[in-house]
Symmetry: C2
Subunit: 379 residues, 2 copies
């Protein structure tokens, strides 16, 4: 067993955003020396990691040289240069999650194909190269760019031919629209020893009108049999990938209580933020345990948790100001997390708020109050 604690071991992280920032809480707790690479010199982690490097995550040479300076390499964002990671791995560096897994996940067409090959249920889809060809298939469907989609970018609901106007050419998938009861997610952790653990199922509750995720709720308000199926499916996905680290598996619960894989993120995930306050082991600690091949922590919750994202209000750009943050801090069990971005703009993810309570319905009620109260504005 390598001794990581207070040693000269160097953990490298590609990306230094909010996910990296919450990971730093854990590397600091264990005194694991952490080196980060991010294209922005004002990245949320720049001042508080042990050693910060500024550089392009998609540049082969930058990623390769960064990798040569560390003892183990992980990511907090999956849009990184895979070729550099493959070369580093070939030269003996441990890269978790593995480059081969990242390569599949980076490309949504390849990722969907992987589920077909591994008998993992997913919505039917077709792959296309140019927008023109999409006119031939039946409406409605969901268009997804094969690469670089995140937070709803690169995804569009296509109901009519006119919805195709303005879509960029390039590899994409057209996915059949499956009616579903719930969007669910399960975070799976897997270490080198092959130890696997799943977090409880969370539910993404959508705004009835805006069709945006408003609340992430743990545990999901679904029957136990459905929850078990979702956890088992997520575990099957992680085993199929042979993935080391954290894997966030997003799923649909269909009208017939089938579980279909939507997509995965090979890292800590927004759907697991509740775990910092609610779980015995936060997802960030679990990621660290997984990549360092330490025993995985207990994934169950101490209390119910609901998470609300803090995004920049429409109409405000510039130096951020959190209006009414002291009001929500008056409420028991409410914890704001501020990501350290100095400037807001509409819909930018600036932080999140976790609400924990022994009673789920109470947590959900408070979450609504929180959402109505705090506003991310600019000065």
């Amino acid at each position: 067993m390598k001794n990581y604690f207070s040693s000269d071991f160097r953990l490298g992280v590609l990306g230094g955003g909010q996910l990296g920032r919450m990971l730093l809480t854990e590397t600091q707790k264990y005194d694991v020396f952490t080196v980060m690479l991010d294209p922005s010199k004002h990245a949320p982690c720049s001042e508080i990691c042990n050693e910060f490097h500024c550089g392009d995550l998609m540049d082969y040479e930058t990623v390769y040289q960064f990798g040569k300076s560390v003892d183990l390499l992980t990511i907090e964002i999956e849009h990184v240069n895979i070729e550099a990671l493959k070369q580093l791995e070939k030269e003996g560096l441990k890269v978790y999650p593995q480059p081969s897994v990242l390569e599949i996940i980076q490309n949504k067409a390849r990722q969907k194909q992987f589920y077909i090959e591994n008998n993992i249920p997913t919505a039917p889809f077709q792959v296309f190269k140019i927008v023109e060809d999409l006119k031939s298939i039946e409406f409605p469907f969901v268009w997804k760019s094969a690469k670089f989609g995140y937070d709803g970018n690169g995804v569009k609901m296509i109901r009519h031919q006119k919805d195709l106007i303005g879509l960029p050419d390039g590899e994409c998938i057209a996915e059949e629209l499956i009616p579903f009861k719930n969007e669910l997610a399960v975070i799976v952790a897997r270490n080198e020893n092959g130890e696997v653990s799943t977090y409880p199922v969370v539910e993404m509750e959508f705004h009835p009108v805006a069709n945006q995720v408003e609340y992430v709720i743990c545990p999901a308000r679904i029957p136990e049999a459905v929850a078990q199926k979702a956890r088992q499916t997520a575990m099957n996905v992680a085993e199929a990938y042979g993935h080391i680290g954290l894997l966030a598996v997003e799923m649909f619960q269909t009208e017939n209580d089938e579980i279909l894989i939507n997509e995965v993120a090979p890292r800590t995930h927004n759907s697991g933020h509740y775990s910092i306050e609610a779980s015995y082991t936060s997802q960030f600690e679990q990621h660290l345990r997984a990549i360092l091949n330490l025993p995985l922590g207990k994934t169950e919750s101490k209390v119910a948790g609901v998470m609300v994202n803090l995004v920049g209000a429409e109409g405000y750009s510039g130096v951020v100001r959190y209006e009414n943050i002291e009001k929500i801090m008056e409420i028991e069990g409410v914890t704001p997390h501020i990501y350290g971005k100095k400037e807001t703009r509409p819909f930018r993810k600036m932080g999140h708020v976790t609400i924990v309570n022994e009673n789920m319905e109470e947590a959900r009620r408070i979450a609504e109050l929180v959402k109505k109260t705090i506003v991310v504005k600019s000065n």
Copy 2:
């Protein structure tokens, strides 16, 4: 309401040790820019605070100049230059806890006198200036140096005249030895608005032979009426001081279930470390809320907590190695905290381990297993 979050507000902290390090988790969560001063350039906080200054905490000019560079000043160690703090306060800087409170607490004779003046029950004592004079009083008693005692330093049980040999001259107190059932502690938080909250009572369980604190247990295994009296007494102490920030109040539960104040620490405290995992609000977050005049958080626990200190094993000095840390991490609900000190020496506080569980007896049982398993050695 001043907006502290992601703003140009600068929080200054005197001291950059492990308490500061755990506070940084909270300032990072809220994105409060944190500047720290510590005499050691390798202090646990040096690499991870936003801005680090190296300098002598007892030097007037160093502390004064540091204070001029920040918007609010707090401490993580109470042995700091009080005159500089008084001058800064006079010039309009908020210094929490207040210099006048620190001045009383820094001197144990003055502190004991304060309890007498405020009708707060404490063990009878006499003040002396030279060791020679101690020969005149009845044995046994507890000798305490008036200044700079911590972690058992500056405290000695005097049973015979020979125990006086080697004691340094200087102001000290001789305290009557009161038989007690338990050593208890309560952490109180108080903000500028006068809002006050107390944490549940914790119990310090001693090793039956070595007479050292082995476990800090929350909640204390005492009758509810005693717990209420302890919390009320701690609140009375905080109100008497008019203290802003956190105050850790150490108490004796006598054979007759009276509560006597032992001493206080005007800051986050070892007896509150369990709160990181067990409480709705960790003591470090609560300190931040208190000094920034934010609403105080909920102090109750989600689960039972037991804390074990990790101190350097006898016979080992040098580069630290945490033997069997992976073994204790296999146990559910066990979280090690490593303070970031690269070198161990006998009895040096290197970290702590928190054990949380829904069941207190189970947490206590695991704590014993943890204590037997992990050993802090050197390479």
